[in-house]
């Protein structure tokens, strides 16, 4: 957008070139491998999550604190960003501000060019996927190597991620072996001969393929799970160790992070480092968490750049109901409980943000001008499972209803939707009115208007549960899952 001086364009979340949700979903529903994998994945993680969450007697208090800290931060976001900028700068880092995807891509490209390097290693980052950074770097002659195992599978397979946490969940081991054998050689060290489809052998192949690259690449690009305003500290949670490699070995580190990722104090991490791993991978703690503050002489990168990304986030912030989506800590718990996601798969959402969170975040970041984005708020049965598992208590059903009201509609329907969403927003704040809420939700048209009706015509979507969600949850989750 350059120096036009007008207000930043609405965010550009890379469109993955998919058809609108109904058609993408229908295609996925027909793919039995995908359905099997997704079902196995979501159910496994769901069970693990429930166990480790039940271990903490103060889970609800942690959840309430997580929500409140995020709300407080968003309310004072300008202050905390300025504070963060000062702390990072004082610790020897550089801070850049990017109003939209184009500006962020330009800043990063220029920073890489200034190092004289033509390749970078990357640790999984949804923000850089959102802005299409790899493609922008490629146009400038810079190769970005993804280093998460799943991202590597996706990149080598010239594919798109389908799940926040396990982006290659739509691939089975035989396919992964094929991809490694066919494409590793094009990117670097080829797969070992006689590679089997045993998961351990596949992981070993990835280790060998990437090791040389880690030891020799001079520039790394990351995102961050949290940024601490008070101290200027960035935090990355991961499992494989590729994050540590990227954050430690190169000479230059560039982190692209959405402005909503800031938290006020170091102490606030005591909440999120309990909420995130348990909600995400269903572990008490993920294998590795790295924190760094600017640069440390003699340890890790000598140069550190933080690119703060808006790209539509300030539009989301301006929406009273919708802004709670910015509390999201990308744990993916809502994907794993969503009956629609389980059937439709991540690709149907046509964005880097799949599942229930994608259904409320993408249309807000991008606007609802396209048929896909206008259909996303309908990619839900409003059962409420996503709200219940969300570690920062984002009321996704209420936001969905609110967005349906904002999407293009005939006037009569619009009025009804407005009224219903208003009542729902109020109702959800009152304790013990779940039954009322569920009855109200039934008043809301589940059929998308016009050409979008195709989605609600697929009968795969379960009806809104007649029983309150809590009962349904106890019945299905507490049982033999």
């Amino acid at each position: 957008m350059g120096g036009s001086g007008t207000s930043p364009a609405r965010g550009r979340v890379v469109d993955l070139g998919m058809p609108e949700f109904p058609r993408g979903a229908a295609r996925a529903v027909a793919d039995s491998q995908l359905r099997f994998n997704l079902r196995k994945a979501t159910h496994t993680i769901r069970g693990k999550r429930a166990n480790v969450v039940a271990e903490l007697p103060d889970w609800l208090e942690l959840r309430a604190a997580g929500k409140a800290i995020k709300d407080h931060t968003l309310r004072n976001l300008d202050r905390y960003l300025i504070r963060l900028e000062r702390a990072v700068t004082e610790a020897g880092g550089h801070v850049h501000w990017a109003a939209d995807a184009a500006e962020a891509n330009r800043i990063v490209t220029d920073l890489v060019k200034a190092t004289g390097e033509t390749s970078v290693v990357k640790v999984k980052s949804m923000a850089t996927q959102e802005i299409g950074l790899n493609e922008a770097l490629a146009e400038a002659g810079i190769t970005a190597y993804e280093t998460d195992l799943a991202e590597l599978i996706v990149q080598l397979g010239d594919d798109r991620p389908s799940h926040i946490l396990v982006p290659a969940i739509h691939r089975n081991r035989a396919e992964i072996r094929e991809i490694f054998l066919d494409h590793m050689g094009e990117w670097g060290r080829p797969a070992p001969e006689g590679l089997t489809d045993e998961p351990r052998a596949l992981a070993e192949a990835a280790r060998l393929h990437l090791r040389e690259r880690f030891l020799s690449t001079k520039v790394a690009i990351s995102g961050a799970n949290f940024m601490v305003a008070e101290t200027g500290t960035l935090v990355v949670l991961e499992s494989e160790g590729n994050g540590r490699m990227c954050l430690t070995l190169p000479e230059t580190l560039i982190s692209v992070v959405g402005i909503e990722k800031v938290v006020p104090t170091w102490r606030d991490l005591e909440v999120f480092l309990q909420l995130l791993p348990r909600s995400s991978t269903g572990e008490r703690m993920n294998p590795y968490t790295s924190t760094w503050t600017g640069v440390t002489p003699g340890d890790g990168p000598r140069e550190f750049h933080l690119v703060l990304l808006d790209n539509g986030r300030t539009d989301v912030l301006a929406d009273e109901v919708g802004r709670q989506a910015l509390r999201c800590i990308r744990c993916s718990a809502c994907l794993n409980v969503c009956p629609v996601y389980e059937r439709a798969g991540g690709h149907a959402y046509g964005s880097v943000y799949p599942g229930p969170i994608g259904a409320i975040l993408t249309p807000q970041l991008r606007g609802m001008a396209s048929p896909l984005d206008a259909s996303l708020p309908y990619a839900s049965s409003l059962c409420g499972a996503c709200y219940d598992v969300c570690p920062v208590a984002i009321d996704i059903p209420t936001v969905l209803v609110h967005l349906r009201a904002r999407a293009p509609h005939p006037p009569a329907e619009r009025t009804l939707l407005r009224a219903a969403s208003w009542v729902l927003a109020r109702a959800s704040r009152l304790a013990g009115v779940q039954r009322l809420a569920s009855r109200l939700r039934r008043l809301i048209p589940r059929r998308a208007p016009g050409p979008l009706a195709a989605w609600t015509d697929t009968r795969d979507v379960p009806p809104v549960p007649k029983e309150p969600f809590r009962d349904w949850w106890d019945r299905t989750e507490g049982g033999a899952e």
Partner: protein, 221 residues
């Protein structure tokens, strides 16, 4: 504050900064100021035996190897662990307590990080030994802060085997107590078991890029 000079200097970086901040202010002007209540558990205390037991159990859950020994047995435990693993070239960070290695003998070559070992050299080492800054019982987590006996982050990352020694007084009950003890200005690495992935059909596989074997010695006194 002057905007950082850099490749984007000359482009409207400052313009975007002001525009983003202005848009934020306009967006939240009418929003309520929510109070932050911290009703969750903090300041937990546990007897030393409980801390050690819980920590050992939780580290084992990640399929790491765990030993619990009094200080007098540490040199023997370390020597035996290195021998079992077949470690010949061992990275030894500065200021590691000399006593920990006094029984390892001449078969183990010690690689000091002075001058700094090149990454390729670290890659050829058989393992690394280190202390830690803090350990968390409830989550089975070890935190390194690049302090004495730990060295810069790469030392405990590149070698495939990490032997980590934890003193009982370094173990805290839960995450909040660890956060309170740690200094965010230091680069921190929180380690909970060996490197792992579940990216292939959700099978957990130990070890992708970080050390594939983690062995922990808890010193009880």
């Amino acid at each position: 504050m002057t905007p950082p000079a850099g490749p984007s200097a000359g482009l409207p970086a400052t313009g975007s900064r002001e525009r983003i901040l202005a848009r934020i202010r306009a967006a939240v002007a009418a929003a309520p100021e929510p109070p932050v209540r911290r009703a969750y558990r903090t300041g937990a205390r546990m007897p030393r035996e409980t801390l050690i037991e819980l920590f050992a159990e939780r580290v084992r859950d990640y399929r790491a190897i765990v030993h619990t020994v009094p200080g007098a047995e540490v040199p023997g435990t370390v020597a035996a662990a290195l021998a079992r693993r077949g470690v010949r070239r061992l990275v030894v960070p500065a200021h590691l307590p000399e006593a920990w290695l006094e029984r390892t003998g001449g078969s183990v070559e010690r690689l000091a990080d002075d001058p700094p070992l090149p990454a390729a050299e670290l890659d050829r080492a058989d393992g690394v030994i280190s202390g830690c800054a803090v350990a968390i019982a409830e989550t089975g987590t070890i935190v390194l802060d690049a302090g004495p006996g730990q060295g810069r982050r790469a030392l405990t990352l590149v070698p495939d085997y990490h032997l980590c020694l934890v003193r009982a007084e370094q173990i805290v009950p839960r995450v909040p107590e660890a956060i309170a003890r740690l200094d965010p200005r230091r680069p921190l690495t929180w380690i909970s078991g060996p490197s792992a992935t579940s990216d292939i059909e959700l099978n957990r596989i130990e070890g992708v890029h970080g050390p594939r074997t983690l062995e922990v010695v808890i010193i009880t006194d």
